[in-house]
Structure formats: C-alpha cells, structure tokens
C-alpha cells in the first residue's frame, strides 16, 4: 500500500508542479468562443464558464493546496512536538494545566475557529497556513505527550540522568528521536487533513482569494453547473483531491509499520 501511496503522490506532484511547465497554457486566459466546452483535443479537460482552460486550472490549483497543506502540517508538527515534549516531560501540575488548555481549545469546534479566524484576517496563503496550523496541532501534541510519558520511563533516559544530562539534552537527544516515528506518521495524516481543510474553506468561499485557483475553489465554482451536466468541471479536481488523500493515508499507514507505532 505504501508503494501505491508513493506512486499516487508522485503522480500528483508531477501533475501539479511539473505539469504546468510542460503544458504551458495560462490558467487565467479566457476564451469567449469556448465557454463551458466539454473536453476536446484543444481543451483536454474542457473549459469553465469563463472559457478558461480547465486542465491548466486543475494543475495549478493543486500547487497552492499542496504547499499550504505541507507547510501548515509542518508548522502544526513543530508546535505540537514542542508543546507535547514539555508537557509530557514536565509531568505533574504543568502537564495537567497544559493538557487542560488543549481540552478547552478542543471544545471549540474546529470549523468555527477556522471561520472566525478567516473572517478576522483577510485570507492569504500565509494566513491560511497559520490558521490551519493553529487549529490542528492539538492531536499531535497529545500524541507526543503520551509517547513521552512512556519513553521517559525507559532505562536509557534514566542512564542519561545518571550521567548528569541536562533537561535539554534529555529532551532533544533521548526523547525526541524516539517519538519522531509517531510524529512522522501523524504529520503525514495531518498534511492530508490540511489539504481537505483548505478545500473545505475554499468550497465555502472562505479560502484563498482569486485569481489563483485551488481544488476546493474549483469544486465550489463548479457546483453551480452540476445541473448542466458539466461533469468535466466536477470530477478532475475531486479525483485529484481523492488521489492526494488516499496517497497520504497509504503512506502514513506504511510509515506506521516502519516505525512500529500505533496511533
């Protein structure tokens, strides 16, 4: 399954990042002679209501989704790892307070925070990364914390303490490398979740501002033409999202086996 995931992800990455370099067509140029054209030789995926080349739009639309997905997942990993390491290693009251803070934040529905933050700050890719990272680090930090609770009991951590190792040394050299497996698995899932979040926000019309397309926004604007049987507007971005999601899920499942960690 891991191979299938790698294959799918490679395909998507080539399609979105290398594709536009080969298929050099502007995603924004309109052609009023070909509005809502079904796939033809000239327009392999047809055109949208403004006569724009849909293949070019789907290719470019993936770029932003993937970049924002990766970067926000990475950011939430960094926050989650630091928070979880401190909470788990400190234990006691500190741990209790830090985990209760997460509990409180988790009681607020994620979509609500997203919509609120999205309304407060005008959406740009950077803001979107920040918003997604801010609403998605909880689960990673909980995972890290629970792993740390078990790893810090191991004899090799005790051995490091017996040498007089500093807290910093124990956290970075003993604990971190041994929780990274779980973190990698969780972060891979997180990338997929972030991409879905972007798509969801864009689908609700709250994502990234035009003209740069992204898959969620493409789905959103295609909705209106569903009843005109404009299937070529719905399936390509949907299938791209599907392949991306499944690839990430397959990869993280394979990683779970490699790192022998359970989520």
């Amino acid at each position: 399954m891991g191979k299938l995931g790698i294959f799918g992800l490679t395909f998507i990455l080539l399609f979105t990042f290398v594709g536009p370099l080969i298929y050099r067509v502007s995603p924004d140029t309109t052609n009023l002679l070909y509005l809502m054209s079904p796939p033809t030789l000239k327009y392999p995926l047809g055109t949208d209501a403004l006569g724009r080349n849909y293949l070019a739009r789907v290719m470019v639309g993936g770029q932003l989704s993937l970049i924002v997905g990766f970067v926000s997942a990475f950011a939430s990993m960094v926050i989650g790892v630091i928070y979880g390491l401190i909470s788990g290693y400190a234990g006691g009251y500190v741990d209790g307070i830090m985990m209760r803070i997460i509990d409180i934040l988790l009681t607020i529905p994620g979509l609500f925070i997203l919509l609120l933050l999205d309304a407060m700050f005008s959406p740009s890719a950077f803001v979107l990364i920040f918003i997604i990272a801010f609403t998605s680090w909880f689960s990673i930090s909980r995972l890290v914390r629970s792993e740390v609770l078990s790893v810090k009991q191991r004899d090799y951590v005790e051995a490091a303490r017996a040498f007089g190792a500093s807290t910093w040394h124990i956290m970075t050299r003993e604990l971190l490398p041994n929780v990274m497996g779980t973190v990698m698995v969780a972060t891979t899932f997180q990338v997929a979740a972030a991409i879905i979040t972007i798509a969801t926000l864009s689908f609700l019309g709250l994502g990234l501002p035009p003209p740069t397309p992204n898959w969620g926004e493409l789905l959103n604007s295609s909705m209106s033409y569903m009843y005109q049987d404009a299937w070529w507007l719905i399936y390509p971005p949907g299938i791209c999202l599907l392949i991306t999601m499944m690839s990430f899920n397959f990869i993280s499942e394979a990683l779970q086996g490699v790192f022998d960690s359970r989520l």
């Binding site: 004899d155 005790e158 051995a159 017996a162 040498f163 007089g164 050299r173 041994n178």
Partner: protein
Amino acid sequence: MSMASPVPTTRPKLLSVKNLKKHFPITGGIFSQVVGQVRAVDGVSFEVDTGETLGLVGESGCGKTTTGRAVLRLVEPTAGRVEFEGKNILEFSAGEMRKVRRQMQIIFQDPFGSLNPRMSVRDIIQEPLIIHGQGNRSQREQRVKELLDVVGLASYHMQRFPHEFSGGQRQRIGIARALALKPKLIVADEPVSALDVSIQSQILNLLEDLQQEFGLTYLFIAHGLNVIRHISDRVAVMYLGVMVEMADSLEIYQRPLHPYTEALFSAIPIPNPELQRSRMVLPGDVPSPAHPPSGCRFHTRCPIAQDRCRTEVPKWKESKPGHFVACHFR
C-alpha cells in the same frame, strides 16, 4: 531496626547510607489526594568500602532497586543520608550533583531498554563524555574504542545500532557506557538476570575483571543468591523495605541467621539430584509495602514467629563481628 553501627573495616568507606527511606505516595479519589504511602525503602543503612562488592538481595518488590536508585539520587529519597566519600550528596546542589555523577554510575537490568534505539553504539558510549564536555571528537572516538576493547567488543561495532546486538553484547555496551567517565562506584541493578545462564557468568567475570583493573566498587543488586555468591564480598538481605541480615559472603552462606535468609538459600537449586535436602518454603506472599505488618515485617511468613514478633520491631544488631541481623531470636 534502622541504625547500623559502623562495620569494622580496614578499607576506607566509599559509600555510607544511613536510615534511607523512600516512600511513594498513593493518590486516589477525584482530587488525587494522597491516601497512603508505599514504603518501598523504610530505613536502610549500610556501608560500602572502596574496592568492595556489596551484594543486595531480596525478592521483587523488596525495595532493593529503589535503594540503588536512591543512592544515585535517580529517585529522591524521602529521608536519610547518602554519604559519598564522606559528603551527604542529598544536600548537594544541581551543579555539585552533576560533578559527583561522574563518580557513580549505574548498569541496568534490561539490556534492551537501557540503550537508546536511535543512537549508534559510538553515540551511546560517548554520550557521558559529551555531557561532561570531555575530550574533542577524536579523543572521544579513541576512548570509545578503548572502552569497547575493555568490555570485549570490537571497534567496528561502533557504527552499529543496539538492535543488531544480542542481550549479552548489549549488556557489555551498557557496561562500557558506565565506565566512560571512570567512575568509582557502580550500582549494578540485576545486571545479569535478563541474560541467558550461559552469558551470565561471562558478564559476571567481566565485571570482576573490571573491578580488579579499575579498582571499582560495586553495589550489586540481585534477586537470587546464586549470582551474588559469585561476585560479592559482603551480602545484605532486604525484605519489604528493610534490611534483615548483612554479613561476609562466606559467613552468610555457611551460617545464615535470619529465617528469611535461610529460606532464600534453600531456594538455590543444587546441581545434584541424588542429594536430599529439606527445602524451606515460605507460606504466603510478600505483604504489601503500603501496609507492612506490625512488629517484625517478616512475622506473617516466618516459621519461628512468636507473639513478640507481631508487636516489637527487632533491633538491627551485630550478632557476631561483622554479622548483622534483625531478628529477636538470632
């Protein structure tokens, strides 16, 4: 039963433990209030001379491991004194503690849990050197080679990771790491009980050779007397957080005084099926250290217990020169 009178020795004392206690709180209820105390170690006193091996024996849960860790301040003792070279390390600041940690090291029971699986053998062995800022890169590399050689491994093992080694080899790596800072005292916490019997004697011989070569002092913790006999100069027996008997190795094997020690000895298998002997089987289980029995803690399982044992705590007394016991009748 806690105060020990000094052992007459010719060698200087390296470690002196006085009335050491470690109680773990039991929390319960919705506000996790303290509802009781597990008295893991409840007033233990002993001394270890320089270059000597003191064997610490007892069943699982008797507090011997906690004693070993409390001596190194890996768990913070509740009360008592731990004097290392005459200074009470329990009063040391973090900085002083860091310095003294070079002198005292630990070898763990589980050779699979004691090595960081994400570090190469080189990193594992040089870790204490890095922590104490000793040597530059090539000096450390040289030292790792020396240490591997000392414990009977080859220098090409350096690049490998712990999972590539057998239990015995891993234990050697753990020993090399413990030796890295040239310590004086090593607490060996059941260092062979997780190993195959055929490997056990190899490791024990290695530990003895290292003691000779580097003048090490061992606090050797074990749950069986057969291992201890091999290596110890003196043996101390613990039961339920207290010490019940301590004497020279030979003396305690030939003339055990405490009924618990006798029972432990009779559990050692004799490699002779012809030989008949009376095996002393203790009734019942070890009582909970959260609610230790009144009086003598051993009275619930003792074959010679009398009424007195239920109420009166036996004194820790020197029954013969150098032979200490805590029993009303011996």
